[in-house]
């Protein structure tokens, strides 16, 4: 693997230059002596895992948090201290958060011109609003219906409105938080074209993301943070996704490929020509007992929809699913669960766990019948036995079983999810992005558990949008794109860089 060269000298004319930035929240050192600079008109990437300090750093630049004394904070060549969000905006800093913070019920024009509208009560001049919006959109080189309600626009359109809003407020430095997370490939390409236009007109753009394959090509430099510290600033041209992941996680990929041949073990799930219009098409897929099949694909590839169908929460329009040989057509996920299918959702917060409820209740939610004793009452003895078993088996670190599951770390929450599904003794376990929001250090533990489950004979379908996840931790890799399975790879016969090229190209 080639090591990226240190970054070229910082451009002479800078949008911002921050040095020795430290931020502390109570006992947590969120940022520790971090430096960060962006040139005028530069396209820059700010990369780091969850909890690396990315968000804190943006909030310092945006004036939300104050850096500890001793920091250098320059905006466009001027030193500025005791910053507030209002001052930062006046200096030309705009942040577009992932939720965009727009007004769905207002028109495109009103959303774009919004920042000029707030303040002293006065009558609204709609002609001026439209003029402002038109100018801002012209700078981006896009046309949108100014009168359309924002909610009628797709995410990509709303994102353009958010950018136009920043321009209308005279932004010279725009931060974009995870901008490509919910875009299709074509929409991403369009966004990147817009960013090039912005850059050419002297507006700097900082992409904040932990998935940067798509944006690396338009960026000139990458700043990498880890655990609140600066790892380094690198030239984007020399950067690959795997090298970047390594820098963000601080782990070398000396982890070995764990793929193995399962041989002629019985087939647990087999689909033929499975189709759901608009989502996936002609999916043929086989998972054998004890096998981990990785399903890699970007958002919008149809992978979660496919998982929902296998789990009985969506119906296929055509095709067959066979479970251990017999065709099944589940009317609900309850039937699928009874038939031995388990599904670990990618959205642990909203769908995976009932966050406010206790660890114990979340562990037994799937096996209520089994813990019900005489007279239809839940047996406390059986319940606590099941909870203890789950906690021990998955080495979940908890305070008390009655604590809310939301008090646990991401990794331990995911173990609770695994425990509740393993309690149902599934034969097919579908993992949808099993390590999303799980700290890097805790991921290995999850992978080890998954491998252990496969060794017990459970068929595992592991969906992911991270190549390294499926490459190192599955026996076979299926690549899904545009609703179809387009290729199959054996991790032992392909280099990770080639797999990345195939997936992200």
């Amino acid at each position: 693997m080639t090591s990226p060269s240190p970054a070229s000298p910082i451009p002479a004319s800078e949008a911002i230059r921050f040095e020795h930035v430290s931020v502390r929240f109570g006992g947590v050192q969120a940022l520790d002596d971090v430096s960060f600079s962006v040139g005028r008109g530069e396209v820059h990437c700010l990369a780091g895992e969850n909890g690396s300090g990315k968000s804190t750093l943006i909030k310092v630049v945006a004036g939300v948090y104050q850096a500890a004394p001793g920091a250098r904070t320059d905006y466009f060549g001027e030193s500025v201290t005791s910053l507030t969000p209002k001052l930062a905006r006046a200096r030309g800093v705009a942040v577009i958060w992932q939720d965009l913070a727009l007004f769905p019920e207002m028109s495109v024009a009103e959303n774009i011109a919004f920042d000029g509208l707030v303040g002293a009560p006065r009558l609204v001049n709609y002609r001026a609003i439209r003029a402002t919006a038109r100018t801002a959109l012209a700078k981006l080189g896009v046309t949108l219906d100014l009168a359309a309600r924002l909610r009628s626009l797709p995410i990509s359109g709303r994102q353009l409105v958010a950018i136009a809003r920043a321009l209308a407020a005279d932004a010279k430095l725009i931060f974009m938080d995870e901008p490509t997370a919910s875009l299709t490939q074509a929409e991403t390409d369009h966004l990147l074209a817009v960013v090039r236009t912005l850059s050419a007109s002297g507006v700097a753009v900082v992409f904040v993301s932990h998935r940067l394959a798509e944006v690396l090509e338009v960026s000139s430099r990458v700043t990498v943070l880890r655990d609140g510290r600066l790892v380094g600033v690198f030239n984007a041209a020399d950067m690959t996704q795997s090298r970047l992941t390594e820098l963000m996680t601080g782990r070398r990929f000396d982890q070995a490929v764990t793929a193995r041949d399962v041989g002629e073990k019985p087939i647990v799930v087999q689909t033929a020509g499975l189709t759901r219009r608009g989502e996936y098409e002609g999916v043929d897929l086989t998972v054998r007992a004890g096998e981990i099949v990785g399903l890699i694909g970007l958002i919008g590839a149809g992978r979660t929809e496919l998982a929902h169908t296998l789990f009985g929460m969506a119906r296929a329009d055509a095709g067959v699913i066979r479970l251990s040989g017999s065709p099944v057509a589940f009317a609900s996920n309850r039937e699928a669960i009874r038939a031995g299918v388990a599904y670990v959702s990618e959205d642990r917060l909203a769908l995976g766990l009932v966050q406010p409820q206790s660890i114990a209740d979340n562990t037994v939610i799937t096996i209520l019948k089994a813990i019900t004793g005489a007279g239809g009452l839940i047996s406390e003895a059986r319940k606590s036995a099941a909870v203890t078993k789950g906690i021990n088996e998955f080495a979940i670190k908890i305070g008390r079983p009655d604590d809310a599951v939301s008090t646990l770390s991401g990794g331990n929450q995911q173990r609770v999810v695994l425990a509740k599904w393993l309690a149902t003794s599934p034969r097919l376990l579908i993992l949808d992005c099993p390590t999303v929001g799980v700290d890097v250090g805790a991921r290995d533990g999850i992978y080890r558990i998954v491998r252990g489950l496969a060794d017990r004979g459970i068929a595992i379908l592991m969906i992911s949008d991270e190549v390294s996840e499926v490459y190192f931790h599955s026996d076979r890799v299926l690549h899904m794109a545009g609703g179809r399975i387009v290729a199959e790879f054996d991790p032992r016969r392909i280099a990770i860089a080639d797999l990345e090229r195939a997936v992200y190209a």
Binding site: F25, M313, R334, I337, G352, V354, Q357, D361, I365, L377
Partner: protein
């Protein structure tokens, strides 16, 4: 010993000791200031009045735990009471026998359960908002009742009903006995059965519950159906106590039941609630009202005091207050937050 108190705490809810303390304080204050407060007659009257509000509050509690609400409780109770009244009247009115009464009770419970189930199904299967669905059901039942009774009372019931409404069993008023039994059943249902478990989970997050394999729609329908049955029981007890039925009877109690739930620590956002603390908070509300009554205050003033009292409890419990207190402590110790 500690294990036992912990188990008791888990079974009854953490709010119980505080509420019992509050109840004792109210008893002491009124006992010292108000003549006749600590008398058998006063407690007897509390015990006769409490069950109406109590049964209706139980009917409100379960839907709130599912992150819904049942605004049709009074209308359901009234219409169920009417059902019983009609069946008694058809069988001779004052001369109606015990058998007619039993049939009437079963029919009343069925009407309550059916109207609850219809409302629950609207919410569960058609995604209607609980406020709107139960409001619509309330207007429907009310209008139907007024249409059928032409806005008047129905009375003229057999004498043995007085024994239920005003009699005592082992010195405890019969309505109170019914309420205590209903509260125990409700406690077991919500705290110990699969249905209660599902209601709490669904109340916190219906989608995650569905992904985990709970029958969300069925449970939601059932929770409103059972709430309707409890309303019917309240309607029957009201009939025996007042010896008449009229649409609109008990309307003032509707929102008091919501507040009694919140006073009893039920989470307004669903997912958490226990019968025991709600039971104690009902005792508190009824005692407050009866104490004020003995002091010569009007019924309206005691309603106003209930309102103030509940606001005070919300403020005392609020996280804002706790945050402020924590912030105060932090600035006391001189620790900057950054």
């Amino acid at each position: 010993m500690q294990a036992l108190t912990e188990r008791m705490g888990r079974a009854l809810g953490r709010d119980v000791p505080g509420l019992v303390g509050l109840f004792v304080v109210i008893l002491v204050v009124f006992g010292l200031t108000t003549p006749h407060f600590l008398s058998a007659a006063n407690f007897g009257s509390i015990a006769f009045q409490l069950p109406d509000l109590g049964l209706l509050t139980l009917a409100m509690l379960a839907p709130i735990m599912s992150n819904g609400i049942n605004l049709a409780i009074i209308a359901t109770a009234n219409l169920s009471g009417l059902t019983l009244a009609w069946i008694l009247n058809m069988n001779g009115g004052p001369q109606a026998g015990v058998f007619a009464f039993v049939v009437g009770v079963v029919a009343a419970l069925a009407v309550g359960g059916a109207s609850g189930a219809a409302m629950g199904a609207t919410i569960a299967y058609f995604g209607a908002h609980p406020i709107l669905a139960s409001l619509a059901m309330m207007i429907f039942l009310r209008g139907l009742g007024e249409f059928l009774t032409r806005g008047g009372d129905i009375s003229g019931f057999p004498d043995f009903l007085r024994e239920i409404g005003h009699g005592s069993i082992l010195g405890i008023p019969a309505p109170m006995v019914v309420f205590i039994v209903a509260a125990v059943v409700w406690h077991v249902l919500l705290a110990r059965t699969r249905h209660g478990f599902s209601v709490a989970m669904i109340g916190s997050n219906p989608r995650a519950s569905e992904y985990s394999g709970l029958a969300v729609k069925r449970s939601l329908t059932l929770v409103y159906a059972l709430s309707g049955v409890m309303c019917a029981l309240a309607g029957i007890i009201m009939l025996t106590r007042f010896n008449s039925v009229r649409v609109g009877h008990g309307d003032a109690l509707l929102l008091v039941t919501v507040l009694a739930c919140f006073l009893g620590g039920v989470d307004p956002f669903g997912g958490f609630g226990r019968v025991a603390p709600v039971f104690v908070s009902l005792l508190i509300l009824q005692t407050l009202s009866s104490g004020l009554n003995l002091l010569g205050a009007s019924q309206h003033l005691s309603t106003a005091v209930w309102g103030l009292f509940l606001i005070a409890v919300m403020v005392a419990r609020s996280s804002t207050l706790r945050t402020l207190a924590a912030g105060f402590r932090r600035s006391e110790t001189g620790q900057a937050s950054r």
